[in-house]
Amino acid sequence: MNILLPGQYPRSERLIAASRDFDRGRVTEKELEDVRKRDIKELERVQKGLPFHSPGLFHWQDLLRPFDGLLENTQSESLSRFFETNTFWKLLELKGAFHIKEEFLDEWANNHFFAEGMLHKDAKLVFTLPFVFLFHEFSRGFSLKQIVKVLETAAKSLGKYPHKVLCFYEPVLGWRTITPEEKQAAVELLEKLKKSITTPIYIQTSFFSLKGFWKLLYELPADGYGIDFYANSFHAAMQSFPKDKALLAGFINTDSTLIETDEKCRGFIKLLNDHLPAGKTFLTPNAPPELLPREIMDKKILHLKEILK
């Protein structure tokens, strides 16, 4: 059993200040980059020993923003509450003809997933992309077919790099009803990817009870599923969990700065070990890691690593 950190990792206080100062013209781009690089190196140290490392995604503003650079005729301006948090994303709006700048895919991947070249292409990394329903929820003007095309193109371009896992983030499950068309689009995307890349693909949910959604989730043709165990009971999740799939167990609580106690960690790990093969289980944050301050998230990871030793 190990730890996996999909999603945007929290920026350090230093990087938060530098980003603000850059916006106000107080520091240069080079100075901001230096701080960001230091953040990535520090995150590397925190993750030392983990099978797959998070690239941090420190210069991402939200999970849809990178697509603003990959697509023509889009804009990101309108703020929209990120589910039931006090964080806001900007809606990705298609304002003209749909076109993917495929000629920039390598550069796009390098900038957004390899920390602008800081991380080696062969490094063992976890990549994160928004899944279909999430993309649909936080965009305007895209058909489901276009969303599938964008995600397929992005995922395939990432799939050519070895030693990676791809995590599709999907908190819409449990938040609202999924239409048959949306479900069909989700299945179509995953089936296309399974035929063309070998990268393991996980679907990570969060925030909401999946009561009424288990069947839909487990029928998605992915290699594993992420479940928020602060919103769902373990037994409910395990009742129909496909035994050949990986579980991303949302255990690290992003809603509390309390470091999980030894007792809480060991109790939960035992629960997992009693029900699932260790090699198929990862402990993850139950929601986006950046909902916690950096210092707290680092402490939670380091503590959990100690327990897992």
């Binding site: 006090n86 700065t257 210092e295």
Partner: protein, 388 residues
Amino acid sequence: MTYPPLMTHEIGSLAKPSWKVKASAGTLLNDDDISAADTWGDILDIEGKEELLQLLKKRSDFTHADKQLILHFASLYAIRFQEKAGLDIVWDGEQHRVEMYEYPIRRIKGFNFRGHVRSFDNKYYHKASCVGRPDCEDHYHVHEYEAIASQADKPVKIPITGAYTLVDWSFDEHYCADVHPGLDSIAEARQKARHRFLEDISKRIIYPNLKALANHGAAFLQIDEPAATTKKNEIDAFIESVRHSIGDLAGKAFFSAHICFSEYKRLFPAILQLQGVLDEIHLEYANRDSRELGTSRRERPGYDILDLFKDNKFVVGLGVLDVHTDFIEPPELVRDRILYACDVLKDPSRIFVAPDCGLRTRTWEVAFQKLRHMVEGRNLAIHALGLD
């Protein structure tokens, strides 16, 4: 208690004058800062302006006593700003506060700040965690109220950040300590922890503060709850927290709730339970409205939620100024927004007129013009209704 129809008031914050910000931060004042104090001092007829200008000419190295005097003047300027704009109920637009979350949390026992969390893009807010049972160490708005009331020529309103928003914007290390992930009863366990947190903040923090303010003579108390509708399954918890916060004080002051940039329909019908507890519910409308003149439903799309206030007793706090733009609403547009509301509610005495939210993000020049036009628009509406 009855009030004249279409009373006007500001909602939250005003920008802090640069001379106040720089003096507090220890930054060197420049000529523009001093000139702004001089110019606005003239516009607002500030008594004792020369004393302030003399002090600001130090430009740096302000002592604690200097900073207190500068705060006194910042508050006085903001009060006169609202009075000069013609508002009926005034306050000082948060001149005493850092902002609406950090200011109260730093004065409540049981919280520690843990770091910054993203609001959006590169904007972050300082987020605290509840680490022990919260306790009210002092009534943190009483001194502010007394300072404002001693200077204001109009009735004074004091906003206070509500229990639900304080809880929703904080981490919890105390109440959720026993919540174990994956429990069969995980939802109930979390809900129970959340309710305990909320009940303690309502009863142990907000209620004593409101009571102290009411005892000191504060007649208008506004509970700010921007987070009220954040979690769709917690509307009842929010309602309960308002009930606990006001408790037996209902009727002893005029209580309003301010909620903005939210999904308001979620509040109904549950919020109707607060009739007799809350007097006014103020929402943001202008941000959702068109800029066309007219009093029909087509021209006033931002005000459709008013339908839900038709058959109840609440005073409707009507947001008529969009605080996110420098567009100066013409008085005629304000008039039409008010007349539309009067037509829906059939009772002008149930309407108070205000901006959508605080005007902190606007310059004083823009905010002043907006507020003056709001008052002019109100006066046009009074005339159109034959109430003058």
